[in-house]
């Protein structure tokens, strides 16, 4: 028995707009969103886990830098959801191209597109679920999200290189490829693109309040809201989760290690020169909120322990366990006058969930490195 391919494709599409102009028009915006998402994501990755050679050159300014870039990371990822779905809709009939494979090169191209689609869907899906702290998959989120980001970037660049002639021929309304399409499709396509644009606007406006406090009232679907949280600030890890209790802090002392080590009680810390700074907590999950912090400058504490102007810091939390219990702070962060060992938040003594009796607040850093329940500071 011989198996023969049917002469025509098994599926045909009568609907219009599955064309290169639609794909180009949506694809450009999708490409831009993914470029922003990739760049801000890699930046965040290195800020959160800096390799040794980089740790001392990471800048502590602008103080709102990480708030902006990580807000953009999550916002561009969310904006990419309608764009990716629209783009895939435009090219969906190509899935049923007939014959399925024309040549080795054609097969390789189709495989690369499959990788691109898989990586794109995977990144947006896992990223979105991560912001909701939902992890239904059997692997570790951070390294896999990071690895697939490179897979996505690579297959996207390859895709642009392969499709470049088509992109160029359909880039503007006056491009030759666009003009060759049925003229009657023009208004229809404009309406479709308007719909996709409206969807991007809608998903952005209903989520971006988590990072742009002024837009908080419009937030419908963000996983955090600036309006919720003790002392005006959301919490990620509670004292209970970190197994820190008021009783365990009864004899609290700050130990400062260095060439001239010393310890301080909370009253002695309060007697030192206090500074007030306004800095945001900016979480890797995208939410952020600014607050007023009062406390002692970390560089003053390091200096008193004999750390020079080039001193870095190692900060150890009293939490029982956790990936960020010990936090390394590069030179530029440790010496920045905005970097405090904070004792007060928005005019009140820190609540236990916000890191009582003392926590780190530094400019331009991921929230997970703003160590709470500090017990020990080392000149490093």
């Amino acid at each position: 028995m011989r198996f023969t391919l049917p002469s025509g494709p098994p599926v045909t599409f009568k609907a219009r707009l599955h064309d290169a102009r639609t794909a180009t028009a949506i694809g450009r915006w999708l490409g831009l969103a993914m470029a922003v998402c990739f760049a801000t994501g890699v930046l965040s990755h290195y800020l959160q886990h800096p390799p040794g050679w980089l740790a001392d050159s990471l800048p502590s300014r602008p103080s709102w830098g990480y708030r902006l870039t990580q807000g953009l990371h999550v916002a561009s990822g969310i904006a990419a959801i309608p764009l990716l779905l629209g783009k895939l809709w435009a090219v969906y009939p190509r899935l049923f191209a007939w014959p399925p494979v024309r040549s080795v090169l054609h097969a390789l191209e189709r495989i690369s597109v499959a990788v691109l689609v898989a990586a794109g869907l995977f990144e947006l899906f896992t990223g979105l679920l991560n912001t909701f702290q939902w992890y239904p998959w059997p692997f570790s989120f951070v390294p896999v999200h990071y690895a697939v980001a490179w897979l996505l970037l690579g297959s996207l660049l390859l895709h642009v290189a392969v499709q470049w002639p088509k992109i160029r021929d359909h880039f503007t309304l006056r491009s030759p490829g666009t003009l060759a399409l049925p003229e009657a499709d023009g208004p229809d396509r404009r309406q479709l693109l308007l719909g996709v644009t409206a969807a991007v606007g809608a998903v952005t406006l209903t989520t971006v309040g988590q990072s742009v406090t002024a837009l908080g009232p419009l937030e419908l679907f963000g996983p955090r809201s600036p309006a919720h949280g003790a002392q005006g600030l959301p919490v990620n890890r509670t004292a209970a989760a970190a197994r820190v209790s008021a009783a365990s802090l009864a004899d609290w002392r700050l130990t400062v290690a260095g060439p001239r080590p010393y310890t301080l009680t909370l009253d002695e810390l309060r007697a030192m020169p206090q500074y007030e700074v306004t800095l945001p907590i900016a979480c890797v999950e995208g939410w952020s909120k600014s607050a007023r912090w009062t406390g002692v400058r970390v560089r003053d504490l390091l200096e008193r322990a004999g750390g020079g102007s080039g001193a870095r810091a190692r900060v150890v939390s009293l939490e029982a366990a956790g990936a960020y219990r010990v936090m390394e702070m590069g030179r530029l962060y440790a010496q920045d006058p905005l970097t405090l060992l904070a004792l007060r938040l928005n005019g009140e003594v820190l609540s236990l969930d916000h890191g009582y009796p003392a926590r780190i607040i530094a400019p331009n850093r991921p929230g997970v490195l703003q160590t709470k329940w500090v017990g020990r500071l080392e000149v490093a």
Partner: protein, 137 residues
């Protein structure tokens, strides 16, 4: 011409780096299942659903099609980002995680899309009628 090879070659290097990083993970095949699963769910379920809905909208007639399609794209996208907080099982780490009433907000958003669409269609119809009467006068 040349820059396409440079761009494509650079893309291959980046993708290979990502692939190598994935192979360093314990049990990389589990990740491959999720990557492949994303394509299967999209191409086999989401896309056909959209195509089927599009066919229904096409029946509704040419004049309303564009508006209805736009409304459905917006409502569908809002639903896509509303689904994780609506479906997420298990408790939350503390009361500031997922603090909103997401079901209410989702229904509010769909109602807003419907109202906006009706208003748009209504304003357009009135504008057309006024335009026509203007011609007759």
């Amino acid at each position: 011409m040349d820059f396409r090879y440079v761009l494509g070659g650079f893309g291959l290097v980046c993708a290979a780096w990502g692939g190598w990083l994935l192979l360093q993970q314990p049990e990389p095949w589990r990740i491959a299942v999720w990557l492949g699963g994303a394509v299967v769910v999209h191409d086999g379920f989401v896309a056909p659903l959209v195509v089927a809905i599009a066919a229904l909208v096409a029946v509704a007639g040419l004049r309303l099609r564009g508006v209805m399609r736009g409304a459905l794209i917006v409502a569908g996208s809002l639903t896509a980002i509303a689904l994780p907080p609506l479906l997420r099982p298990g408790g939350v780490a503390n009361p500031t995680v997922l603090p909103l009433d997401y079901l209410r907000n989702w229904l509010l958003a769909l109602a807003a899309v419907a109202l906006f669409t009706l208003a748009y269609v209504g304003v357009r119809a009135v504008a057309r009628r006024v335009g026509r009467e203007g011609h007759q006068a």
